[in-house]
């Protein structure tokens, strides 16, 4: 270890910014000051202001200063409260759930594909079985995207084929073969009689049958009612649940196929 590296290493342990116990900072160390805003469903009266202060108190803000109260219509009031919280945070006890792949921007995804794969990455998507709800697959694939994030079609280095709704499993396998799919995305919204689980198992079995392990595309399913831990049981590489964004899917695909390539299940 060079002396430079060593000092950086030690610095990491003793840096004054790296405190164990922290509280919010207003303008003085340890003052614990925070600012919050919220709306209560009551008209703007003295009592409403009291209610806002009481809520702030229950949130651990003491003393609480009501700095702004404004009626919104006749039946709501908006408040801004400043004050000191009495809570402390022990940094050593903070637990974070780490995503097992880094979240990349569209630009970064494109750059990785371009530099490391050196060809367009082919993605084939569909709603299989009788499911006609293309909401999910369209949100992930259409340029329009969801929640302000563009869909995979927007990524220059991805070649997206969206087969749409009510695609049969053999059609999907055929399309995956024709498009030389690196990844297959399947969306399942309808869950009557566990249709989403049956369809997914049928799909993964068909791919296993049609293609040898090394040639099989990455299989990804998504839908609001899936349990994300059921990948092995369903024979797929990844399950995405409610609220998944195109960026997460793209980042995962790049992670699984390029940056962290390993044998698939």
């Amino acid at each position: 270890m060079s002396s430079e590296e060593r000092s950086a290493f030690h610095g990491h342990q003793v840096e004054p910014g790296d405190k164990r116990i922290v509280r919010p900072y207003g303008d003085t160390s340890g003052d614990g000051m925070v600012q919050i805003s919220f709306t209560l469903p009551v008209p703007h009266t003295k009592r409403a202001e009291g209610a806002a202060l009481q809520l702030a108190g229950k949130m651990g803000i003491d003393p609480a200063m009501l700095v702004h109260a404004k009626p919104i219509g006749d039946t709501f009031t908006f408040f801004v409260v400043y004050g000191r919280v009495n809570h402390l945070v022990d940094m050593s006890k903070v637990q974070v759930v780490e995503r097992d792949f880094p979240l990349l921007s569209a630009k970064e995804v494109n750059a990785v594909v371009k530099q490391k794969l050196r060809r367009k990455l082919s993605v084939v998507g569909a709603c299989i079985g009788t499911d006609a709800h293309t909401v999910g697959i369209d949100a992930i694939l259409n340029v329009k995207g969801i929640a302000g994030e563009k869909g995979l079609e927007y990524y220059r280095e991805l070649k997206v084929t969206n087969l749409g709704a009510q695609v049969s499993v053999p059609e999907l396998v055929e399309a995956a073969r024709a498009e030389k799919a690196d990844a297959v995305l399947v969306s399942q919204v309808v869950t009557q009689r566990d249709a989403h689980l049956h369809n997914t198992r049928e799909m993964s079995a068909a791919f296993r049958e049609a293609m040898p392990a090394g040639k099989r595309p990455l299989l990804i399913v998504g839908g609001p009612r899936f349990d994300e831990t059921m990948t092995e049981e369903l024979g797929v590489d990844r399950i995405f649940g409610r609220g998944t964004t195109p960026g997460e899917v793209a980042s995962y695909v790049v992670h699984a196929l390029i940056t962290n390539k390993k044998a698939k299940v």
Binding site: F38, F78, A147
Partner: protein, 521 residues
């Protein structure tokens, strides 16, 4: 307010001529094709209503049955009215029910039967068109009674709970808080449904289904608000996606006041077949023209995918194309809410001056259109404080450049669907800017030859260059090759293509005749 940018009138004329040249082949295509949705819209005007127990509208069942027997290329009205005569019934909805049960056969009538069917079809469709006329006259009366908003731009606010009965009080509260125009966002994915859902709906994904009944309920609620507030509160929905013509017809029948209606949005962003889109679009715009509806085009969307500086000229090109298609379909300038947006990266030096230049360019190119000015979305990060500041600058550009319709930006864009307080803070922002600087456009005259004039002229020049390139190939080829946005959309691909047919020699569509000739019978 013209002449602030010293635009070259010859270049402006050239831009319009090139847009016409690029658009003309598309209009020819639209005039020689029909779609299932155009035919369904015609039948809706003729009085087909309701849906089967599975929620599939009777118009869909009827059009499917006719197409199965006679194909789509003749149009469905003659086979339908021929069948009515043969079955000796007068109710088209009843015929649809019989057709769905498989108890009616359809044929393209000839000779006397054709003449009779033609007459009956025209009479029925004309009744629907006259209903649209009555709705328009009713709007004119209400606007006269309650008045237009006192200020320009009109303040446009979105509601989107998914439940029409939640939307109504939110919309009324928004109107009370100052909104002049209420837009009800549609449920995600409705644009790709090849039917219009029926009835009042209470469940939607990130929006509320557009249905005739939801239109009616919301319009009635806003009529109440208009009465209460002493100004006519306008209602907006979407004529886009696979059911564009039907949405237009329903909007006309239920007196909606504005409709989102872009010429290329569905193609580029929803992968809807280009021919389907252009055919549907032309018919929907004819209906909007008749109904006195203001269309809002979707140029803001280009800037969410492409860079707002590098691709500024694609907005101008799209505005010129939208203008050409709109005029061709009979819309007047006052009905053209041509879109554009405040989407330049705020970290870019002089971004505000660039925004002023672009917004003023649109204003000067389309002096009589109520331009639709869209707020920042792409560079809204979740930092709500910075977002509120950006929205303030957006509002300032809106008033300094005389925009017609201002979609209120939310500081919580990209964070949550707007809370009650977000909307209130956003409206406060608008009111402050319009109150403090509402007349600033009178004083705002960019320096001759200065930054803003130069930038606007450069964008116009780039737009003309792009139109020249499109002119050399054709708009459909340009779209196929990915000229707009980055999407390649060939004319033989995309959703809804199977619902398109070329007109047969005996194609008949009474609605097109009535709309094009401006007749009532």
């Amino acid at each position: 307010m013209t002449g602030k940018l010293d635009l070259d009138p010859a270049l402006v004329a050239r831009a319009r001529e090139l847009a016409r040249r690029a658009g003309q082949p598309v209009v020819d295509l639209a005039r020689s094709h029909t779609t299932v949705s155009v035919e369904r819209a015609v039948l809706r005007l003729a009085g087909v209503t309701g849906a089967d127990p599975d929620g599939i509208p009777w118009v869909n069942r009827l059009v499917d049955a006719v197409v199965a027997d006679t194909g789509l290329g003749h149009g469905v009205t003659l086979p339908v009215f021929d069948a009515l005569a043969r079955e000796q019934i007068t109710d088209v909805t009843l015929l649809a029910q019989k057709a769905a049960a498989g108890s009616v056969r359809f044929q393209q009538p000839t000779g006397k039967a054709a003449t009779a069917a033609r007459k009956a079809a025209r009479k029925a469709v004309a009744a629907g068109v006259r209903q649209i006329d009555r709705r328009r006259a009713e709007r004119d009366r209400l606007v006269k009674r309650y008045g237009d908003p006192k200020q320009r731009p009109w303040i446009y606010l979105i509601v989107a709970t998914g439940d029409i009965y939640e939307d109504i009080p939110q919309a009324q509260a928004a109107a009370r808080a100052g909104a002049d125009v209420i837009a009800v966002i549609r449920s995600t994915g409705q644009s790709l449904l090849d039917y219009v859902p029926e009835g009042a709906t209470r469940e939607g994904f990130a929006g509320t289904y557009a249905t005739q009944e939801n239109f009616r309920l919301m319009r009635a609620a806003l009529d109440e608000s208009s009465r209460e507030l002493g100004r006519y509160v306008r209602l907006t929905n979407y004529a886009s996606g696979l059911c564009m013509p039907e949405m237009a017809a329903l909007a006309g029948l239920e007196r909606l006041d504005m409709m989102l209606n872009d010429s290329m949005y569905g193609i580029l962003f929803r992968d809807i077949n280009p021919i389907r889109t252009f055919v549907d679009q032309r018919f929907s715009r004819q209906v909007h023209a008749r109904a006195g509806i203001i269309i809002n085009t979707g140029e803001d969307n280009y800037l969410t995918t492409a860079d707002a500086v590098d691709e500024a000229h694609t907005v101008t090109v799209s505005q010129l194309l939208n203008e050409y298609f709109a005029h061709e379909a009979g819309l007047a300038d006052w009905q053209l809410g041509l879109g554009h947006a405040f989407e330049i990266n705020p970290d870019l030096p002089e971004s505000f001056r660039l925004e002023l230049a672009h917004a003023l360019l649109a204003r000067e190119l389309f002096p009589d259109a109520p331009l639709k000015w869209m707020p920042p979305t792409k560079h809204m990060t979740g930092d709500v404080f910075r977002g509120n500041l950006l929205d303030g600058f957006f509002n300032l550009v809106g008033t300094m450049t005389g925009q017609g319709i201002l979609l209120v930006g939310m500081m919580t864009e990209a964070v949550v669907t707007p809370w009650l307080s977000d909307r209130d803070i956003a409206l406060q922002n608008v009111r402050y800017v319009l109150g403090a600087a509402g007349g600033l456009h009178e004083d705002f005259v960019p320096a001759p030859g200065g930054f803003i004039q130069q930038r606007a002229n450069r964008v116009l020049g780039e737009a003309v260059d792009l139109l020249e390139r499109i002119g050399d190939q054709s708009l459909l080829t340009a779209i196929a090759e990915g000229t707009f946005g980055i999407m390649k959309r060939p004319a033989d691909r995309g959703k809804g293509l199977d619902g398109v047919a070329k007109h047969e020699a005996d194609y008949y569509n009474p609605a097109s005749d009535l709309l094009e000739e401006g007749l009532t019978r």
